[in-house]
């Protein structure tokens, strides 16, 4: 499960995967393996040696007595579909989004063309650094939603691809 968790105004990209009894939680790419135990009014969370008791009060999450304002923004699952390990699932739809906001300095695709997994779709420049956004799988380009030279926010869909 992937979502953005905004804690006290600071957004974090979160991915949670159940593994056996426990969870694997990735916060902005860093991995944690918390063990949780839920009771009627609280959840106990253990990460390594640290224990925390977490209660919920309206829009606030209270950790060991400290309240934090928390908002969850669910990401469209298709948006961040991961590249299938083997051959792409035929007709799976990918919405390609950038890893950060930036300016489109090069657009290497147009609707209708076929791309191979790893081909560069666009080059995005942020903070004077150029980042190549690759195709997640072998695909046909259905839509291109940005223009060369355009500055785009981090949650903008760059292109829609269909796996072939």
């Amino acid at each position: 499960m992937r979502f953005d968790l905004i804690v006290d105004g600071e957004p974090h990209e979160v991915e949670v995967v159940r593994r056996g009894e426990g969870l694997v939680v990735r916060i902005d790419g860093a991995e944690y393996r918390p063990v949780t135990r839920a009771s009627s009014d609280a959840v106990d969370v253990r990460i390594g040696r640290a224990h925390r008791t977490i209660r919920f009060r309206g829009t606030q999450v209270v950790i060991d007595g400290d309240p934090h304002a928390v908002v969850v923004q669910v990401r469209d699952e298709g948006a961040t579909a991961r590249p299938p390990r083997r051959k792409g699932v035929a007709h799976a739809i990918y919405e390609v989004r950038p890893p950060m906001p930036g300016r489109v300095v090069k657009l290497a695709i147009r609707p209708g063309v076929r791309v191979r997994r790893g081909d560069v779709l666009v080059v995005l420049e942020a903070m004077k650094m150029q980042n190549e956004i690759p195709a997640p799988a072998d695909c046909r380009v259905r839509e291109v939603l940005v223009r060369e030279g355009e500055s785009i926010p981090g949650d903008r869909v760059i292109a829609v691809l269909e796996a072939t």
């Binding site: 499960m1 979502f3 968790l5 804690v7 006290d8 105004g9 600071e10 957004p11 974090h12 979160v14 949670v16 969870l23 939680v25 916060i27 902005d28 790419g29 860093a30 991995e31 944690y32 918390p34 949780t36 135990r37 839920a38 609280a42 959840v43 969370v45 990460i47 640290a50 925390r52 977490i54 919920f56 829009t59 606030q60 999450v61 950790i63 934090h68 304002a69 928390v70 908002v71 969850v72 923004q73 669910v74 890893p99 950060m100 906001p101 930036g102 300016r103 942020a126 903070m127 004077k128 650094m129 980042n131 500055s151």
Partner: protein, 510 residues
């Protein structure tokens, strides 16, 4: 001395220049792009003017508009900071045409510094040892092959108009020559509008050591010691220190004199830096940086000399305030550049809004910053948001002080290079002073960063609790009233400003 100075830059360096200028009784005129309307540097000026849309080409590089602001605001001089127009010889010449003093070297010396081959030739003529290479443009792959054979692999293609570590391409084997030649040329063309490249021998495990020089209007010159900037990633400096741990007092004196002599030979004036590679006990010339450097504060820390003040005095026609014999180096200083980049994810740019911010302080801790709580770090510019500079009596004391300062530096809302800096400062090679320009990638220092700080662990706990408890649907899309909790310190400060600690009773918002 000038009465009005235009500062043609943004962020921490604009604020840093303004701080000294205002202290000298000079009124500061700032500029800002549409992306920087509410930026901290705008508030540091006596007046500020909008100069155009966010892309640098339309604002901070917009010569016509910046000169227009200078005219309209009655500026007598322009300080370019670093980056943007700082090394643009045409801009320096335009300033002179308009009767404005450009705070930096004369346009001709700047053009010479910017042309790598011309600078190498001038330095070699002045008796400065240069890195082995060819002093002419390499025009064909055959020519490159013959030169590389003669120099011995590995070799390095460099853009003659290059700078900032861009346009360099290393070649280990003849088979790589063609691809490197072509990529170096295309990168050079894209970045500098000039595809010409030349070849140097690539020096492995070299240290990057540079000398700070001041040259007065009548060529009275002195050097303020060296800075070691070997901690780099992709030729971008991350951490700098002075004195350089590996060199002796005699080497310092010798290389300092060489640097002054070399800049004099270029007809250079004002503050400038000569970069060298140090390898096998010898120095070879690398390039001239004709500007105030990002890392200038470490020199200020150990010498007590305000480099911006010297720049302004020299630009106004005065001599340097001190002579070589008056330069004394005390203690050891280190600077960490704080970039809005995520070191855990390959230094991915991390623009965004700063939701919480608290700087370190204490004896011999200096923070030059361009941000505060609520600031927006735009994607359009350089990722450098702040610099932490510390000084200690010894190198190990400075390292300890830096670790404490970084641990106290809280920046929330964007990812920063602080976790990388902390890992570097703990690394035994760094602690020993065993430094070389590719150490960050050779030692995989960033790749070994896995976890993050206590704040992220708390977020992981919250995420786990939500998933195991009420579920994410219970929190989806709710907008809490208060997005960030102001610290009680900030509230106390505000109460004080409003007239005494108890003048305003805290009250709860309904």
């Amino acid at each position: 001395m000038f009465r009005r100075l235009l500062i043609a830059n943004r962020g921490e360096i604009a604020i840093r220049v303004a701080r000294t200028a205002r202290g000298m009784g000079i009124a500061c005129i700032g500029v800002y792009s549409d992306a920087d309307r509410g930026a901290l540097h705008v508030r540091a000026m006596d007046e500020a003017h909008g100069i155009g849309p966010p892309p640098a080409a339309e604002s901070y590089l917009n010569v016509r508009r910046i000169l227009e602001v200078a005219r309209e605001s009655g500026a007598e001089a322009i300080h370019p900071g670093y980056g943007f127009l700082a090394e643009n010889a045409d801009f320096a010449a335009r300033c002179a045409d308009e009767g404005l003093v450009f705070v930096g070297p004369p346009a001709r010396a700047m053009a010479l510094s910017g042309d790598k081959i011309a600078a190498r030739r001038a330095m070699a003529r002045a008796g400065v040892p240069v890195t082995p290479g060819v002093d002419r443009v390499v025009r064909s792959i055959e020519e490159a092959g013959a030169i590389a054979e003669r120099l011995g692999y590995p070799v390095l293609f460099k853009a003659i108009a290059g700078g900032g570590g861009i346009g360099m391409s290393r070649v280990d084997r003849p088979a790589q020559l063609r691809a490197s030649f072509e990529s170096a040329r295309s990168v050079a063309l894209a970045n500098f509008g000039n595809a010409d490249v030349f070849l140097e021998r690539y020096i492995e495990r070299a240290r990057h050591i540079e000398v700070q020089v001041l040259l007065g209007p009548r060529a009275r010159g002195l050097h303020l010691g060296e800075r070691e900037c070997s901690v780099q990633r992709r030729h971008q400096k991350l951490v700098e220190e002075t004195p350089a741990p590996a060199i002796t007092a005699r080497e310092r004196r010798a290389i300092g004199e060489v640097a002054v002599k070399g800049l004099r030979a270029l007809g250079y004036r004002n503050a400038g830096t000569v970069e060298f590679l140090y390898h096998g006990g010898r120095f070879t010339f690398n390039e001239v940086n004709p500007r105030l450097q990002v890392e200038h504060p470490i020199t200020e820390m150990v010498t007590g000399v305000d480099l911006v003040r010297q720049q302004l005095l020299l630009a106004a026609g005065e001599d340097p305030e001190l002579s070589q014999s008056e330069v004394a180096i005390r203690g050891h200083a280190i600077e960490c550049r704080i970039n809005a980049e995520d070191p855990v994810r390959g230094f991915l740019p991390s623009p965004g809004r700063i939701v919480a911010y608290r700087e370190p302080s204490g004896p011999d801790v200096r923070v030059d910053s361009g941000i505060a709580t609520g600031s927006v770090v735009p994607a359009a510019y350089d990722p450098l948001v702040a610099k932490v500079v510390v000084c200690g009596r010894s190198r190990s004391g400075a390292i300890r002080r830096m670790r404490n300062a970084l641990a106290d530096f809280e920046i929330r809302g964007v990812k920063t290079t602080i976790p990388f800096d902390l890992a570097l400062l703990r690394h035994p090679r760094f602690v020993r002073g065993d430094l070389w320009t590719t150490m960050v990638s050779d030692l995989r220092i960033a790749e070994k960063l896995k976890g993050r700080g206590p704040a992220e662990e708390r977020v992981a706990a919250i995420a786990a609790a939500i998933v195991s408890g009420p579920g994410i649907e219970a929190f989806a899309g709710r907008i809490p009233l208060v997005l960030s909790k102001p610290s009680t310190w900030a509230l106390a400060g505000r109460r004080e400003r409003l007239g005494g600690a108890h003048a305003v009773r805290p009250h709860r918002r309904r």
